[in-house]
């Protein structure tokens, strides 16, 4: 885990904490979420939101353990280590996939080895599909859930031109698809709302459905974000705000209650 993520200038917190708090604030009291593999930032975000502004938020740990409230977060977000305090262990085929297809679960977060401006992701191959330079794990559930879940959140701790590309080598997971009304034309609900990175927060421009700079983390410039992105970054009208500062209470709860062992650092 090397030296860990850097301190955020002027915010009394580190980058991982800023990302978790930003994710948490994007959740609401009617969020009904679950999580997949290697999803430490969202898992911390759900736990924090539930302890602050969204007490009724539903989180199914590993997509299985409804209302789990683990004392710590372990080495895997698909592990039974996370299931303490759950009120139900949902069965995958009968319960989980039905809740997902019916959008009873309304929130999912995923990341990919590559992400494009419309919030589609690649976790399958780098290079030509039949003779890849790198065979990645595969899309798993993201190809499914990207099509089913209305509120999609993306995150990345590696905001650079290799990750943020104009053209994916393979589209494993659906975001806004080709942009515009593509997603709606396929009958899919909602779509990606935010992409939270180690440099900034993107939202999606309503007409094109391409990433648009919503806020900059302290010390990061518009030019930095553009240089780290392999596509043209859309800008909002007027000044780009700074990503909001985490409160002392949010940081305390994250550090002492949600993730006291710092599992979130596994993503850095």
């Amino acid at each position: 885990m090397s030296t860990g993520p850097p301190a955020v200038t002027g915010y009394d917190c580190t980058l991982d904490e800023l990302m978790v708090v930003t994710f948490s604030r994007a959740m609401s009291n009617d969020t009904r979420a679950f999580n997949g593999a290697v999803s430490f930032i969202p898992v911390c975000g759900y736990g924090l939101a539930r302890r602050t502004h969204a007490p009724d938020l539903v989180w199914a740990a590993s997509s299985i353990a409804v209302d789990a409230d683990p004392e710590t977060i372990g080495s895997s977000t698909l592990s039974d280590e996370l299931w303490g305090g759950a009120t139900m262990l949902a069965n995958s085929p009968f319960d989980f996939w039905t809740y997902a297809q019916g959008a009873r679960y309304n929130t999912f977060a995923f990341r990919g080895a590559q992400m494009d401006a419309c919030g589609n992701v690649n976790n399958s191959v780098i290079g030509p599909y039949e003779s890849p330079k790198v065979r990645l794990p595969g899309g798993g559930g993201m190809a499914d859930l990207g099509c089913m879940i209305p509120r999609i959140y993306l995150w990345s701790t590696t905001h650079n031109p290799r990750t943020f590309v104009e053209r994916l080598d393979f589209r494993s997971g659906m975001g806004w698809g080709d942009g515009g009304d593509h997603r709606a034309s396929l009958g899919m609900p909602g779509g990606p709302r935010l992409c939270i990175t180690n440099l900034c927060v993107f939202d999606f421009e309503p007409a094109s459905k391409r990433m648009r700079l919503a806020s900059l983390h302290p010390g990061v410039s518009v030019d930095d974000v553009q240089a780290a992105s392999g596509f043209d970054v859309l800008l909002p009208a007027g000044e780009v705000p700074a990503t909001a500062r985490p409160s002392a209470e949010e940081l305390r709860i994250l550090r002492t209650e949600v993730d006291p062992t710092g599992a979130r650092l596994r993503e850095f």
Partner: protein, 299 residues
């Protein structure tokens, strides 16, 4: 009635019953409940040309890729999760020794359901708009279609034939009744229902009467199960909730050994393939088999 004929066989006999070239579906999900004791015997039996069907898998596929047992992997995702990529699977897929036939989880579930229910296809919206369905258009396994009445697009998932499914359970009787305790969590029922034949590995052989005493807790009835193998702590190094968690130390040692072929050959022989029995394997990895009480085992 729990049946008169015992279906209990050894792990080695179960592995021997799988011919080279077979399509073998493995249960569990990622770090959880994979039938590792059985997979180890496939490796020891030096199987060849297997097609593996695994919805979300990790270590089990990496062992079989390392040993050259598999030529095709039909899966949604293969990784060692928080520990990293599955190195032997990755290299075998990149070099073409193993063909990765990639689906998403739900596309694979739907193919298995179509097979289980003897339907021409199961529809789903999963994968629409992604590049995944196009991987399977030429073979005809998936078709993107539009419903003539509603105009809604869907993916038609055609049946996926499976020769044998192997799933890990907490308790089974010798007739083949089996239960996952507290309840089935992962997608194992989908592969069991699709397969021509099912092998159950189990933490404990239980009395048949225990199933009639608590019939609401039975996961697989004996007519769905063809063979039962006792394998205490049989999912090691993956978990078997709530009896034991995944064994982080094994994952870390395994990945550390993957740094050099010589180190890995030594590790694989000492810690995986070499031990003669499952009990010897557990001893070689410094863990105890589960006791009969199903109590918590620390890893």
């Amino acid at each position: 009635m729990t049946g008169l004929v015992s279906k209990q066989i050894s792990l080695a006999e179960a592995a021997a019953s799988v011919p080279d070239g077979a399509t073998v579906a493995l249960g569990g999900l990622s770090m959880n409940s994979a039938p590792m004791a059985f997979v180890r015997e496939l490796v020891r039996a030096d199987k060849r040309d297997l097609t593996l069907v695994t919805i979300v898998a990790g270590m089990c596929v990496d062992w079989l890729a390392a040993a050259g047992c598999a030529s095709r992997v039909v899966a949604g995702l293969v990784s060692l999760e928080g520990f990293g990529l599955a190195p032997h699977f990755r290299h075998a897929a990149q070099s073409g020794k193993v063909k990765m036939e990639e689906y998403s989880e739900h596309l694979l579930i739907c193919r298995l359901q179509a097979q289980a229910r003897r339907l021409p296809f199961m529809p789903t919206v999963a994968g629409l708009g992604t590049d995944v369905p196009a991987l399977h258009t030429a073979s005809g396994a998936l078709r993107v279609e539009t419903d003539a009445v509603t105009g809604r697009p869907y993916v038609a998932c055609t049946p996926l034939a499976v020769d044998v499914a192997v799933v890990h359970t907490h308790e089974a009787d010798v007739a083949g009744n089996a239960r996952v305790n507290p309840k089935l969590i992962w997608m194992d029922s989908e592969i069991v229902n699709a397969a021509d034949r099912t092998i159950v590995t189990t933490e404990r052989i239980a009395e048949g009467a225990s199933f009639s005493a608590e019939p609401h807790r039975t996961t697989y009835p004996r007519f769905m199960v063809d063979a039962v193998c006792e394998a205490p702590r049989g999912a090691f190094p993956t978990s078997c909730f709530p009896d034991y968690g995944h064994h982080s130390g094994f994952f870390e040692d395994y990945l550390a050994a993957c740094g050099s072929p010589a180190d890995f050959a030594d590790f694989f022989e000492r810690r995986v393939v070499g031990p003669a029995t499952w009990a010897d394997f557990l001893a070689a990895n410094g863990v105890q088999p589960a006791g009969g009480d199903g109590g918590e085992i620390s890893s």
